[in-house]
C-alpha cells in the first residue's frame, strides 16, 4: 500500500492524463479532478455565492468534461477547457438560482473563518465583498474573477467565456469600478 505521507508526487501533464483517460484508463481522470478541484471550486463559489451550488456545478462540470473529453481539442489546455464548461454551468445555475431567490446566500464557507485572527472584522469584510460580488452583473463578475482572482490573460479569458477581448476588458473595468464604489462609498445597488 502506498503511504500517503511519504510518497513522491508523480506529476503527469494534463495532456498525458487526458491521453491516458481517452485510452480507457478512466481512473486517471481522478488526477485531473484533484488537480483542478479546489481552485475551480473557489471560482464556482464566488460565481454562485454558496457552497452547495458551487460543488454541484463543479461536479457537473467534471462529469460533463469526462463525457466529452474526446472533444477537448487541445489536451494541454484541459484546465481552460474545463473552466469553460464550469463557467457555463455557473451561468445556468446562477440564472436558475436568481429566479429561485434573490437573496445572496452566505455562511457556507466557514472553513475560512476558523483560521482568522479577528473573525468578526474579517467576517464583516468578507460579507461586504460577497455582497458586492453578488450585485455585479454575472458577466462582469465572471470577467472580474477570471482576470483578477484566476489571473488569466484576456486571450485566455476569451477562450473560456466565448466573449471578445474588448468586451471582456470593458466588463473587468466596470466590475472594478462598481466594486470599488460599493466597498468605499457604500453604494447600495438595488439588486433585489
Amino acid at each position: 500500500m502506498v503511504d500517503a505521507g511519504v510518497s513522491p508526487v508523480v506529476e503527469l501533464s494534463d495532456a498525458a492524463l487526458v491521453d491516458i483517460v481517452l485510452r480507457g484508463e478512466s481512473e486517471a481522470y481522478a488526477r485531473l479532478v484533484a488537480r483542478y478541484r479546489d481552485r475551480y471550486a473557489r471560482f464556482a463559489l464566488h460565481m454562485l455565492g454558496n457552497r452547495e451550488d458551487a460543488e454541484e456545478a463543479l461536479q457537473d462540470a467534471f462529469v460533463r468534461g469526462y463525457r466529452s473529453l474526446h472533444r477537448c481539442g487541445d489536451p494541454a489546455r484541459f484546465g481552460s477547457w474545463l473552466l469553460a464548461i464550469l463557467a457555463n454551468r455557473c451561468r445556468t445555475a446562477g440564472g436558475r438560482r436568481a429566479r429561485r431567490e434573490k437573496r445572496f446566500v452566505s455562511a457556507e464557507d466557514r472553513h475560512y473563518a476558523i483560521a482568522l485572527d479577528h473573525p468578526a472584522d474579517a467576517s464583516a469584510w468578507r460579507e461586504e465583498i460577497r455582497l458586492a460580488l453578488s450585485r455585479l452583473d454575472a458577466n462582469q463578475r465572471e470577467a472580474f474573477l477570471l482576470k483578477h482572482v484566476e489571473d488569466m490573460e484576456y486571450e485566455q479569458m476569451s477562450l473560456v467565456t466565448g466573449a471578445g477581448v474588448s468586451a471582456l476588458k470593458m466588463r473587468v473595468k466596470r466590475a472594478c469600478e462598481r466594486m470599488r464604489r460599493m466597498l468605499t462609498e457604500g453604494e447600495d445597488a438595488p439588486a433585489r
Binding site: 486517471a28 478541484r37 446566500v105 466557514r110 469584510w125 483578477h148 466594486m179
Partner: protein, 203 residues
C-alpha cells in the same frame, strides 16, 4: 495597448487589492467525498472515451501502467486517510436518495441543521461518528457505506455551535478529520476535529 494598460492599472487600487487578496484565499473542498462522487459518476458515465467499464467498476483493482498506478494509489491512500465533512445545513438537494427520508425525519425531529459526515474507507467493515453531540458513543451513530467507492456517510442533526468529533473505524481506530481543523489536546488526548455549525436563523 495603452488603453489596455490603463484599464488594468486603474483597476487595482488598494481597495481592490484587498478584495483580490480575500477572494484568492484557498478554498478547501471536501476532497475525498467530492472526488468519490465525481469518479462514481464517471465510472458509470456513458462516454465517448471508450474503456472497459466492467473492470472500472472495481476501481481499486488497478491494471495500469506503473506511473498511473502510483498516482492513483496515492490518491487512494489520501482518500483513505481523508474524511470529509459537509458543514452545510442540508437541503437534501443532490444528496443520494437513500438518505433523503432519513434527513427529513431528522430535521423534523430536531429542528437543528443537518450535517452530513463522510468518510472514505473502502476496506473498513464499520465506521462510526463520535463527538460531543453523541457522548462519544461509538455505537450511537454508525455511518452507512455507499454501494461503490468505499464512501461512508451519515446525516446528523447538530445544534448550532462549536463541536468536537472524530471517526472510529472498525470499532477501534480513532481518526480525526484531516479536512477539518484539528482540536488536539482539548479532549482525552485523542486528536479530534472541530466543527462549527451556523445557526440557520443567521443566514
Amino acid at each position: 495597448m495603452r488603453q489596455h494598460d490603463d484599464t488594468e492599472d486603474m483597476s487595482r487600487d488598494e481597495t481592490l487589492e484587498r478584495v483580490v487578496q480575500e477572494l484568492r484565499r484557498p478554498l478547501r473542498v471536501n476532497a475525498s467525498l467530492f472526488d468519490a462522487r465525481v469518479m462514481d459518476e464517471v465510472m458509470r458515465a456513458p462516454s465517448g472515451v471508450g474503456g472497459r467499464f466492467e473492470s472500472l467498476l472495481r476501481p481499486r483493482t488497478f491494471r495500469v501502467s506503473p506511473l498511473i498506478a502510483l498516482a492513483a494509489g496515492m490518491l487512494f491512500a489520501v482518500s483513505i486517510a481523508g474524511s470529509i465533512l459537509y458543514v452545510l445545513p442540508s437541503r437534501s438537494r443532490g444528496a443520494p436518495s437513500a438518505r433523503g427520508a432519513q434527513s427529513e425525519v431528522a430535521r423534523a425531529v430536531s429542528g437543528s441543521p443537518i450535517v452530513e459526515f463522510g468518510f472514505v474507507a473502502p476496506h473498513a467493515s464499520s465506521v462510526a461518528l463520535v463527538g460531543d453531540f453523541n457522548n462519544w458513543d461509538p455505537k450511537a451513530t454508525p455511518l452507512r457505506a455507499a454501494s461503490t467507492g468505499g464512501v461512508w456517510s451519515v446525516e446528523v442533526p447538530i445544534q448550532p455551535g462549536r463541536h468536537l468529533y472524530a471517526f472510529v473505524v472498525d470499532g477501534t481506530v480513532w481518526r480525526p478529520d484531516p479536512a477539518a481543523p484539528q482540536a488536539t489536546g482539548e479532549d482525552f488526548g485523542e486528536p479530534n476535529s472541530a466543527l462549527t455549525v451556523a445557526d440557520p436563523g443567521m443566514r
